[in-house]
Subunit: 304 residues, 2 copies
């Protein structure tokens, strides 16, 4: 067990959530928040992000309590990024009701000196120009993970192409994979995307789990099948954060190592969806996760 | 390897298919056709069904060539059951354009004497009253599998309840499971359904595979992730047919045995969707299937 550090760059936000069973306002969210809480279960995690004056010191301290280094969180005048969304009755789809970039509009990630030697880097979904700026500031990362979204796939294809060429593991959802590749079948989409740079592709499929495509082929990690899914917000970022955090702790990016860490990621993400925001994630222990990994194995592994 | 026989009762039909990449008319289909072709790979299969004068002798012979006993196929005056449907561009959904019951409207399943001792029985999706009539004619089956649909769940709840009480393995899709149980989360739906009689429930989820719920818990068999899905018609019946056919050959309905047979079923179903109608299924060999099972294992099984 080494202690390689994970650098996470992405949004910190307040979310207003209209969920089938409840609704909640001003929920602390953002990709960097979810991902760092998940990663910090297994490795030292540090964030580069930006927040406004409305972001409370106690919310920063909640991250610090989990060992997350928040020296890279810039505090500026104005309001924090805000997102409001409404989920379908079955939680499969969601509609964005409002997006206020606020201070996030002027985000230019600046890495504190101590962060530049980070071994594992997760570029959450931000403008690809900013993802490139981060890569220019890290010295010699062992592995770079990146996410993106339809907005950049459509609007910034050239910059995104430059990001893809420098990424080890691309982590996107199925719709994004199809849009990025311009084809519908996922195996073909994966081949086209891997041709553009990433050594490995992970396609997130919500309640249906995730597909890894790497040099050893394709691997399907399931999602736990749960009765009490409350809020899917941040599940994908939680998955990516747990994955990179666990990989940083094992240092094993081999096909076998990656497959094992995917089970950890799916287990951590299963807790995220069972409560609003980060409520459950922020209290999680490795022992909680270990019990879920056993359930995931019972769900998928054939008796020998 | 014993030679327990599989009895399949269900529709034989002509389908008109509007598919994203092609369209085809008068395609030989129906649940009994797909299921018996799949089952016959592993066990002697026999069908009880009804066809009209438009059903060609060569189409019956195509089944006989695969060793399927068609003595229980009743030939009557009139036209065979016909279904016409259009699939979405991504094949996830479909719209029924036309249904003509024709001779199927007067179907009363009559088992030839030799069929009454069948050990394994698959009641494909037909009126629950007919499913009960079949059960009254079989002597002492080792295992009864049944399918149903929204139409009977809504329209014949009492008769369907009687079927459920006599079924060992219920094989339905996720929408049907939710409708039958009246709740959305699948684990809860499964508990409610198992409370009504079936010892085991298999929930088919199309491209996302299938979930088994039995006394050992929940198990998720994946679907192969394919580039060339052409026609999903009959995939669920193929899955059920291969499952019961393989189980009849192993005789092992233990949790471990059932899980292994589910991989065979998923492998056989993966061929069904790669061609229009039964084109690929009708030529399949056990060796073809074995190669696919290896792919399914690589897709899901963790390195030890």
């Amino acid at each position: 067990m080494n202690e390689d550090a994970v650098l996470i760059v992405g949004s910190m936000a307040f979310d207003d959530l209209e969920l089938p069973t409840t609704s909640a306002k001003n929920v602390v969210g953002g990709a960097a928040t979810y991902a760092s809480l998940a990663a910090s279960l297994y490795s030292p995690a540090r964030i580069v992000a930006i927040v406004g004056e409305d972001f409370a010191e106690k919310d920063i301290q909640a991250l610090n309590k989990r060992g997350i280094d928040t020296d890279g969180v810039e505090h500026v005048k104005g309001r924090t990024f805000r997102w409001a969304g409404r989920y379908d009755a079955n939680l499969a789809g969601r509609t964005t009701l409002d997006t206020q970039l606020n201070v996030f509009a002027n985000f230019r990630p600046k890495l504190p000196r101590a962060y530049k030697s980070s071994e594992y880097v997760l570029l959450a979904n931000i403008h690809p120009a900013l993802q490139l700026e981060v890569l220019d500031q890290v010295e010699s990362p062992k592995a770079v993970f990146a996410d993106t979204m339809n907005f950049w796939i459509e609007g910034e294809p050239d910059l995104l192409a430059k990001v893809l060429a420098r990424v080890d593991v691309l982590v996107i959802n199925d719709e994004e994979a199809r849009q990025l590749a311009g084809v519908y079948p996922l195996p073909k989409a994966a081949r086209l995307i891997l041709h553009r740079g990433p050594k490995r592709l992970i396609i997130k499929r919500g309640e249906h789990g995730a597909l890894l495509v790497d040099e050893a082929g394709m691997f399907w990690v399931p999602a736990l099948v749960l009765d009490d899914v409350v809020d899917p917000t941040g599940a994908g970022d939680t998955f990516a954060g747990a994955l990179i955090g666990h990989l940083a702790s094992t240092g094993d990016l081999s096909p076998a190592g990656l497959r094992k860490s995917l089970f950890v990621a799916a287990a951590v993400a299963s807790f995220c969806v069972q409560a609003v925001g980060t409520a459950k994630l922020a209290r999680l222990t490795k022992e909680d996760v270990a019990a879920r990994i056993a359930q995931l194995k019972a769900l998928t592994q054939l008796p020998v």
